[in-house]
């Protein structure tokens, strides 16, 4: 009898711990259980939900999730499209305002408490100067510090650290976990 009680208590405790762990991962995701059933980890940033952003910006490069930068960075970039990292970008009249609104409202500083990566990005910035490049955010720099030019710059299939989805196989889903990284010509990333 006593043994059964103990087993019951311990099992109950384990279940509670597991449940709490699973549910605490992403409060916004109502499909947590579906996601877990598929074996997917919680996304680190909110997914891109704006069609205009996907079409206009995602046409040339990976549609960086707004949660990867603070609102200030997005504003800086959008106010400087005539020199957009070396290229000139022209948008229709209303599009600039619409894109600015979308990117700033889903930016890292506003979604940090719901999405792990956004929070880490903001905390790593601290009081430092706000960069426009995601690749200059201290947290991102630190996460990639073990890589070298042969993985990135000199790797013709990657070319630049800003080419997230070249290696992060689930980047479109907002997931950038180390276990999902496959560097072209180098296979899965192992420390």
């Amino acid at each position: 009898m006593k043994t059964t009680v103990w087993i019951g208590i311990l099992s109950g405790g384990m279940l509670l711990l597991t449940a709490q762990f699973a549910l605490s991962r992403d409060k916004e995701d109502s499909m947590t259980w579906n996601r877990l059933a598929r074996g997917e980890a919680a996304p680190g940033v909110a997914s891109v939900t704006n069609k205009l952003y996907e079409q206009e910006c995602g046409a040339c490069h990976f549609a960086y999730q707004p949660g990867l930068l603070p609102a200030q960075s997005w504003k800086k970039t959008l106010n400087n499209l005539s020199d957009h990292f070396g290229e000139t970008v022209e948008l229709e009249k209303g599009d600039l305002a619409a894109l600015t609104e979308y990117l700033t409202k889903d930016s890292a500083d506003l979604s940090g408490n719901k999405f792990a990566i956004s929070g880490k990005i903001i905390r790593s910035l601290g009081d430092k100067e706000i960069p426009v490049r995601i690749t200059e955010v201290p947290y991102i720099v630190r996460q990639h510090h073990e890589l070298s030019a042969r993985h990135i710059g000199k790797n013709p299939d990657v070319k630049s650290l800003s080419n997230c989805n070249a290696c992060h196989t689930h980047a479109e889903r907002g997931s950038f976990r180390e276990g999902e990284v496959v560097i072209p010509k180098f296979d899965r990333w192992e420390d």
Binding site: H61, F62, G86, E87, T88, E90, V158, K159
Partner: protein, 136 residues
């Protein structure tokens, strides 16, 4: 849902060749527009030649062509020269979304001509490009 006779006939007509013409193709509309703007001596062959011609960017000195990103073979998937992002094939036979939206076509003419040629394309050049893409 009961349709009156007129509606039925109209719908039926839309599925005939007549109907096909009634849903005007965006590319043809643009060709007509460019003709009005002065486009002459245009052809798919001319478009193909232009497609592979290299233009020099004064700032970086690098050579650029349409084929740099879009390939010489329009059935192949292209890649953005800087970011490496895949670009769906240009040929309608490989990509049914091509040449279905005139606004889209004009927007990318404007952006890409400026990047490649360093200027806007002339109506003649645009027409030749359209004819070339249509022929693939």
């Amino acid at each position: 849902m009961r349709l009156d006779k007129v509606t039925v006939i109209v719908i039926a007509l839309l599925f005939t060749p007549l109907g096909g013409m009634a849903q005007a193709k965006p590319a043809d509309d643009l060709l007509a527009k460019y003709r009005e703007q002065g486009a002459r001596n245009v052809s798919a062959k001319e478009g193909e030649t232009l497609w592979g011609r290299r233009f020099k960017d004064p700032e970086s000195g690098e050579e650029r062509a349409c084929s740099t990103c879009h390939n010489n073979d329009l059935h192949a998937t292209g890649r953005h020269a800087k970011t490496g992002k895949p670009i769906d094939p240009m040929a309608s036979s490989a990509n049914p979304k091509r040449l279905t939206d005139s606004k889209f076509i004009e927007k990318w003419f404007s952006r890409n001509c400026r990047w490649t040629l360093g200027r806007e394309c002339t109506p003649g050049e645009k027409s030749s490009f359209l004819l070339f893409i249509q022929s693939q």
